[in-house]
Amino acid sequence: MIGSAASNLLDPAVLFFVLGAGIGLLRSNLEIPSALARFLTLYLLIALGLKGGAALSTGGLPAEGILAIGAAMGMATFVPAYAFYLLSRRIDPFDSAAIAATYGSVSAVTFITAQQFLTARDVDFGGYMTVAMVLMETPAIIMAVFLATMVRSRQAVAKAASAPEYDEAFEPLSTREVLREALTDGAQLVLIGSLVIGYLAGTEGKEELLPFTSGIFKGMLAFFLLEMGLLVGRQISEGRAKLDKALFAFSFLSPPVNAAIALVLAYMIGLQVGDAVLLAILASSASYIVVPAVVRYAIPEARPGVYFTMALGLTFPFNILIGIPLYFAAAEYVWP
């Protein structure tokens, strides 16, 4: 396991993450234009989708894949539920709902980094895992919105009693509006579309795209991780959002716990080791692109300084640096 972790830390992409974090912590004035980070995000989503679709079109969707997808959906429902249950006793309920959505969903970049990790070790995994990833986003968001609606109506009752005039201003979004936002999120649509295109495109089409989707992929990922590192480093050095201790603990403890549950589940339903590790990553990672973008719209009462910081500033580096090799080592230990 130590060997695996060390060799993970020698992966150039991971090293670029560390470099970025270092530059951010040093408060360097390095300015990465936002257009560039957006470009790399889109690129990674497209490449991920195309690869997943291509794998699906050759590998099909075996029974194993359906089980994996089911397990993923299960995690995407279970994680927000228990997260909200635990958190809302201690912190603001809207923040709790937002965190629940964030952790119930996934981080595509963590997933991609884990895929690279597995590929470098010649461990196989199925194209359906990308489908699983895509499908995890929505349940987590929907659950969170329902939780928030629940909180809102509770508070409305309480408020109406004490300050009846405030009530008027309080017209939360209709569920229809929220669903539209969740289902038309740009990043999500690009990913799904690329998955479908990867599935549909003929072999020739795929081969022509290879230098773009595979050749330069590792370099583009390294570049993106440099930027994410920078963002994380700045967030930490800025240290504005002073988080509650409970939230700190949650950011670092829920990932391995969720990964462990996922690994047990994977073992029980008989997934191969690569799929199991990816399922663990899906369960343990937290969304810092799609979900915060939707939640900012759907649960405006929650504070992005809390859920976004936790997902990007704490859980993301944890998984990139420690989580991936840790879950892999655990899986290798258990799997025959």
């Binding site: 990465i32 936002s34 980070a37 957006r38 995000t41 809207f94 201003a169 309080f170 017209e171 939360p172 740009g186 990043a187 930027e227 963002l231 700045r234 967030q235 800025e238 504005r240 959002a241 810092y288 692109i289 799609v290 979900v291 915060p292 973008a293 939707v294 900012r296 719209y297 649960i299 405006p300 009462e301 929650a302 504070r303 992005p304 300084g305 976004f308 910081t309 990007l312």
Partner: protein
């Protein structure tokens, strides 16, 4: 030269994800013209680097008459009391009026 008009310039600083919401609200008030600039910044909710969609800001500029401004301010106030983190402020401006539109076929008319 034509006479200068007095108008209001409303500036809205909002998270990028809320741009669509704000623009659609403006449309409901009959305002179809606006200008947007990508921004970054910092505030109580921390740094907004603009590097991720979930982390971006925009500045929307809307030129309008005082009457319309009043309506839009009410909308923005509503947004803020629902929890949306937008900033909205306005100023007086003196503007060269638009060229008198000679009506032509083929193009819709906005504010």
């Amino acid at each position: 030269m034509r006479e200068i008009e007095n108008k209001k310039l409303l500036t809205i600083i909002a998270p990028g994800e809320l741009q669509r919401m704000v623009v659609e609200q403006l449309k409901k008030r009959g305002i179809g013209g606006y200008t947007v600039v990508a921004a970054s910044g910092a505030g109580t909710s921390g740094l907004r680097s603009g590097m991720l969609v979930s982390d971006s800001s925009v500045i929307l500029y809307v030129i309008m008459s005082e009457e319309r401004l009043r309506e839009v301010l009410v909308d923005m106030d509503q947004f803020m009391s629902r929890g949306y983190r937008v900033k909205a402020f306005y100023q007086d401006i003196s503007i060269l009026p638009r060229k008198e539109a000679k009506p032509k076929s083929g193009e819709a008319v906005t504010d």
